[in-house]
């Protein structure tokens, strides 16, 4: 049963990849959508009993076959659904289904074969993502991990005839390899330490050990390596640079892969190995530090970007930073909760931006938008809901999850103490989030309609939606048109999702019961079934540290703190929106003046802190120099070719001398023969 979940999209991929060229759009689109919707139905039937049973549910497992039987290393291809995975497969297949349906409308101007190629990639992505989520051990997860990376590459470079798209795909792939290198090393270290790669067994073995404290123990190193993998996949500092460029891909891809699902794989992976990370407080601090730094940095960059999708991309990076903060302070369920709500509103925002781009025939620059409210009412209102949700306005989904993270960051968890600094930066970031999101909303939908200057047309950026620019029968110039039903329906569904998704985690402080936290808790604990085989370390204190506190009791003081924090962040969200409305709605010249006043800071932000340039100067160029001057011109041409050619030259000059001996004169030969014989005979006679 579990196997069906990734298998259905995979079959969809096979059909579209093999027959897609010959299939009309209606059929290839329908195959892809049915495959993912089928997977959603199966996921629902699998996840339903778990959702009903809540924290008491037992994981469902299926061993498909023995994958790597090799001595000590026994890796079955095993799938497992527990509370965490059940939530994730619903997000992946549910949002995936909506985005597949949306794509039917969004991509309809592509040629038949391109259309089928697009859907085959999308299905393949879903299949790999589900393997990643369902995998019960590191190697199975790694298959999905690499597979989604591949699909991400293929889809970013979907319009591969455009150099910027092809480059962005390559960049994403290469940057991800850096992270994967950490993931593999971490995986190997875990195998050599614990002798197993199954998540449950690793968790049980880790639980039996003492927490490593501030020491650089083997678990700290392993988790740091795994976290390097997570930074690559989830676009955190220092490997965040690929995600904004990934926006070269089609917009539904940005929504599905680069916002809702794939980029959260790093967060999911940490959640999956929560027990391991709990035992490495140093890693947790690093995770939280990187998370908060990324959240803040991406938020500031998001303030000044002009490409609608890039703003959303930086907002994704920023929100992923929040999730890592949650993971880092040990509030794993809060991180997964934010992942889950974020999937809704970020997919919504991306699909909304896709509808805008679609309506404007490929225009992505928000400076040339404006006043779209009356042309695109559905897009406007759904986008507005998404923006309110991500800004953290109370009663929408983003509010609950973000507050949970900020609260946990402030008061701490059994695994990590709280930090006012992390909380403070988090709040500032949430202010930035509200500002840049509403800058986007106001510049896109409000005010006057601003057309692009004539010169800008035909420029690379604007031809992004290539199908529009290229096709002759272009009905889109002139009046922007509202999205077709296949695009509007997913927008509406996601908008509803963005409103209500948060109600699974209403905090206790305001009368909820935070269902999701209790639901997810078993996934972050070691299970006793496997735990009995693990050898307990001597020393009872060790085990005491390892045992996570079951329930954090809600003291009244705690509740008042939480309420205060909640008020602060709600106020910050509203304040952000007001600031945005002041700058970009009422006094549109004020923003430009401010940018002029702080020219240096503005330029730094506009150029994304010059990180791409720094990497180029510090890594790419030296590597290129080393390769060109050192390895190519020096080692290959100089040494290796030199040795080969040198041997040839020596033999040649030597033989040039020696061949003079062959004179052709018989008498010379006879003389040398004779004297040779005399010498040999003489040798024997005289010694």
């Amino acid at each position: 049963m579990l196997l069906l979940i990734p298998l259905l999209p995979f079959l969809g991929f096979v059909v579209n990849a093999c027959l897609g060229r010959r299939l009309p759009k209606a059929i290839s689109g329908a195959v892809a959508c049915l495959a993912i919707i089928g997977a959603f139905a199966v996921s629902l039937s699998v996840a339903w009993p778990i959702l009903m049973a809540g924290a008491d549910a037992h994981p469902v497992e299926q061993t498909v076959f023995m994958w790597l039987p090799s001595g000590e290393l026994q890796v079955p291809f095993k799938l497992r659904v527990d509370q965490l995975a059940s939530l994730m497969i619903l997000v992946v297949t549910g949002i995936g289904s909506l985005i597949h349906i949306y794509s039917v409308g969004y991509m309809h101007e592509e040629r038949d074969s391109e259309y089928a190629r697009y859907f085959s990639y999308l299905n393949l992505f879903a299949a790999f993502m589900l393997v990643l989520v369902l995998g019960a051990s590191f190697p199975v997860m790694f298959v999905g991990w690499e597979g989604v990376g591949l699909c991400s590459y293929l889809l970013i470079g979907f319009w591969f005839h455009k150099p910027s798209a092809a480059d962005a795909g390559k960049k994403a792939f290469v940057v991800n390899r850096v992270g994967d290198f950490g993931f593999i090393l971490g995986m190997l270290l875990i195998f050599t330490t614990f002798g197993t790669l199954d998540f449950q067994e690793v968790a049980a073995a880790a639980a039996a050990r003492a927490s490593e404290g501030a020491a650089m123990g083997v678990m700290t190193i392993a988790t740091l390596l795994l976290f390097l993998g997570a930074t690559g996949k989830s676009a955190q500092i220092p490997l965040h640079i690929w995600l904004p460029d990934a926006m070269e891909g089609p917009t539904p891809v940005s929504a599905l892969i680069h916002a809702a699902t794939m980029v959260t794989a790093g967060v999911y992976m940490i959640g999956r190995n929560a027990v391991l990370f709990e035992h490495a407080p140093l890693t947790l601090s690093v995770v939280a530090g990187i998370g908060v730094a990324t959240a803040f940095m991406a938020g500031t960059i998001g303030l000044v970007q002009n490409d609608i999708k890039r703003v959303l991309a930086y907002s994704t990076v920023s929100q992923l930073g929040y999730m890592f903060v949650a993971m880092g302070v040990g509030a794993f369920s809060a991180g997964i909760f934010h992942l889950y709500t974020h999937a809704f509103f970020k997919a919504l925002l991306f699909l909304g931006s896709g509808a805008v781009i679609h309506a404007l025939a490929g225009e992505q620059d928000i400076r040339y938008m404006g006043g779209l409210k009356k042309y695109l009412p559905i897009t406007y209102w759904t986008f507005m809901i998404g923006a309110l949700a991500i800004a953290g306005i109370p009663a929408l989904s983003g509010f609950f999850s973000k507050d949970e993270i900020l609260y946990r960051a402030f008061v701490g968890t059994p695994y990590h103490r709280g930090s006012a600094i992390v909380w403070g930066i988090g709040v500032v970031t949430s202010l930035l989030t509200a500002i840049y999101m509403f800058r986007l909303v106001f510049l896109t939908f409000h005010g006057e309609r601003r057309a692009a200057p004539a010169a800008a047309h035909g420029h690379g950026d604007h031809a992004a939606h290539a199908g529009h620019g290229g096709s002759g029968h272009d009905p889109h110039h002139g009046e922007p048109h509202e999205a077709p039903p296949s695009m509007a329906v997913p927008l509406i569904v996601l908008a509803i999702g963005s409103m209500v998704a948060g109600y699974v985690g209403v905090p206790q402080a305001i009368g909820g019961r935070n269902w999701i936290e209790h639901f997810l808790e078993p996934s972050f604990e070691a299970h006793s079934t496997a735990g009995e085989t693990a050898v307990a370390e001597p020393g009872a204190t060790a085990i005491l540290v390892a045992e996570p506190a079951q329930e954090t009791p809600h003291e009244p003081a705690d509740e008042s703190t939480e309420l205060t924090l909640m008020l602060v962040s709600s106020g910050v969200a509203v304040g952000g929106i007001l600031i945005a409305s002041f700058f970009w709605l009422r006094r549109s010249d004020a923003a430009a003046r401010l940018a002029g006043q702080f020219g240096a800071a503005y330029r730094i932000l506009l150029n994304k802190y010059y990180i791409d340039e720094i990497y180029n100067a510090a890594i790419v160029q030296p590597l290129k120099q080393l390769s060109t001057a050192g390895l190519w011109k020096g080692v290959d041409v100089g040494m290796i070719d030199g040795i080969v050619n040198g041997v040839g030259a020596i033999v040649r000059s030597l033989s040039g001398t020696l061949r003079q001996l062959q004179t052709g004169s018989i008498r010379t030969y006879a003389a040398s023969l004779f004297f040779g014989a005399v010498v040999v005979v003489g040798w024997y006679l005289w010694t």
Binding site: R659, Q660, Q662, T663, G664, S665, I666, R667
Partner: protein
């Protein structure tokens, strides 16, 4: 009384004459004749030593040498004729084209 040494000395002298002939003569036929002299010097030594040791081995190998010498003379003279037809000369130094 003729001792073994006499034979050996005679054989050595003949061999030296043959060798000198090979090196010094400027006619290929004479060179071939000198080679024959060298061969016969060796034959003489074989027979003498064989008699000295009281075995027939020396005589047997001499027959082999004579057979080979006959064949060699036949082939050698044929080559000489062929060379002469080619170059109108029999000076060995004229035939040096078989080189690098």
């Amino acid at each position: 009384m003729v001792s073994l040494n006499h034979y050996l000395v005679l054989s050595g002298v003949l061999f030296a004459i043959g060798t000198a002939g090979v090196f010094l003569r400027r006619n290929l036929i004479t060179v071939l004749l000198s080679v024959e002299i060298m061969l016969n010097a060796v034959n003489l030594m074989f027979v003498a030593v064989g008699r000295y040791r009281g075995t027939v081995d020396g005589q047997i190998i001499t027959f082999f040498v004579m057979t080979v010498a006959a064949a060699e003379a036949a082939v050698g003279l044929a080559l000489v004729i062929a060379l002469f037809r080619h170059r109108e000369t029999l000076v060995p130094d004229a035939f040096t084209s078989l080189k690098w």
